[in-house]
Symmetry: C2
């Protein structure tokens, strides 16, 4: 196994999730919790979310009819792709299943600090475009708050309160800051913590959960430590940790800098071309061999996308799994199932984007 | 001579200003510039301001009828004392003599980051009180802009743009940041630079001058470097550097943490008591000796205060100087001249404070 690196700004190598749970000191999602998630989005109930911090406590608060909320943010990029949707599909599913508020901070500042070539104006432009995608996903109006750091600058007040309680050496130790990083970057951990604690700054002490890639857990730990400082006396936020959703080519982290991503604005032709060309296949080298030995759904990216994003019906999914594994279904057939699913999702999504443009004021803080 | 320390957060020991000019690489104020300042506030024309960067360029721009401005900020404290007024009296005088705009950023965030025990709410409260004092000084309405970082949070956008262009190691080298300082503190240099460049962010490229204690020059240098980055293409801001105005007891920097300061809210009795009790005297030990050898106005704090703050008339000042130096005027008499001057200033100031409370909206950015 190649050696792996996992931190908020770098993910590489093959990832051993069991080891990460131990290293980071998080808790695997128990069968009891899985039972509570039976009716939620496939990403939650089919195992992309594999670990947590205090999510059992979040559920217990919900059961006591106490306020609970979800917060998950986004560092805006040029265009959003499927992989970017992971935490938002989960947040939306939690909102539907637990009727709770969702908070979505957009960290245009982080992207601006970290990406040397990203201009301020582009950071703002990308944020707006990404916000349209997020609203189009269908979060509940009146129960969903989206804000962008460079627009809702009052967030600086909360970040300042937190910044006072994090020393440079703590931030450096937890996040691997380097002296050559700019001072915006070194301030950003306070902003990120302000995002995670925003539900409590805004609506008082309560349990909030952050669906987040496991690579972002260092921010969660730092924030949990700060949350209980006497300046705040907040609840430690809970977290739900995701595995990395593979890119089409099967790379562990679906990064938009690699080729072959499905963007939310892609046309049906582009989708079909990309899936056919890039989607890593679990099929055999020849038709004869495939019919005889069958495909491997566990490594087949098309199957994985159906499992985690698009085939909500467990029986239908099982059927595809069995057909492919037996060799009765070919890779080309499997891919076309996925192409159709993605295209019908995107057709709907792109329609909703047009609607979303008119609804922005109902979601955005200024 | 005791060894001295001069940096933005620490001033101690006896200060050799000539050496500082060399060390910091600034320019002594020339006779030619002095001539241009003949009608300005005593602080400017009688030598508290002793060094500059590019102030000749600022004057040249003014002569060409180009836009020029003044910017000087304040880290708010509980109550303002006389020493705090230094840069503002100068800014006001420049406004009157050169009919230019004045910008006054209030860095409640800096004080909040740096003072462990200062609460967020108190930082805001002190800012408001200090802003009342500043407005009461009589800056021109419509030509004066005051803003507070925690209220006018849009400043975060400008600070972020600058933060991207300052690395942690640069900030550390210039300002002596320590790893145990909080990450608000390490971000603050960007905010300070945003203050100094605010006139140009807000009204386009032009020459702006910062009247500032010489101890703050590292911020000026850092800001001048950033100003010309291609992201901004601003003019390097000019600076006018002040010597430290001594406290009543004669300490080099008039800090509010020491006893015996004249606060702007002091009553006539308090002023009289403080001057009598604390004002360091250049008089002799006995009346007989004083009459014979005379006092030393150069070290007498009461005389210095008359010279730099309160006796605007050069002839009258010369007269006091000669009377005191000859021994004809006693320390007690000199002190009473100052007490009367301060009290009539404060009576007026305290009246104007009441007026200022109703004018805040005309000066403040929100």
């Amino acid at each position: 196994m190649k050696s792996s690196v996992v931190n908020p700004w770098e993910v590489s190598g093959e990832i051993n999730y069991e080891k990460l749970v131990k290293e980071f000191g998080t808790t695997p999602i128990s069968d009891k919790i899985k039972k509570r998630l039976e009716k939620t989005h496939p990403l939650l109930r089919r195992g992309i979310y594999f670990s947590h911090r205090d999510f059992d406590k979040w559920l217990a608060e919900y059961d006591k009819k106490k306020k609970v909320s979800v917060i998950t943010g986004r560092g805006p990029s040029d265009k959003m792709h499927l992989g970017h949707l992971v935490p938002f599909l989960v947040a939306k599913s939690l909102q539907e299943n637990f009727n709770c508020e969702v908070f979505i901070p957009i960290s245009d500042d982080e992207k601006f600090f970290v990406k040397e070539k990203l201009s301020f104006d582009d950071a703002i432009k990308f944020s707006e475009d990404n916000i349209i995608d997020l609203i189009a996903l269908g979060f509940k109006q009146g129960k969903t708050t989206i804000f962008e750091d460079f627009k809702y600058t009052k967030i600086y007040n909360y970040a300042a309160k937190i910044a006072k309680r994090i020393t440079y050496s703590e931030a450096k130790a937890v996040l691997g800051l380097k002296p050559e990083n700019n001072i915006g970057w070194s301030f950003y951990p306070a902003m990120q913590a302000a995002h995670i604690l925003f539900p409590q700054f805004s609506e008082g002490k309560h349990m909030s959960v952050v669906p987040v890639g496991i690579d972002q857990d260092p921010f969660i730990r730092l924030t949990r430590d700060v949350a209980v400082h006497k300046d705040f006396n907040f609840e430690k936020p809970a977290a739900l940790h995701a595995k990395f959703v593979p890119s089409l080519t099967g790379d562990p982290k679906m990064s938009s800098s690699e080729g072959g991503q499905i963007f939310l604005t892609d046309s049906p032709k582009e989708v079909e071309m990309k899936i056919k060309k890039y989607a890593f296949s679990g099929g055999r080298d020849t038709l004869e061999e495939h019919r005889k030995k069958g495909g491997n759904p566990d490594v087949d990216v098309s199957y994985q996308y159906l499992k985690f994003f698009f085939e909500l019906d467990d029986k239908k999914l099982q059927n595809i799994h069995d057909e492919y594994k037996s060799g009765r279904m070919l890779t080309s057939e499997l891919k076309m199932i996925l192409v159709d699913k993605i295209n019908s999702f995107l057709k709907e999504h792109q329609k909703k984007r047009e609607l979303a443009k008119k609804q922005m004021d109902k979601f955005l803080l200024h």
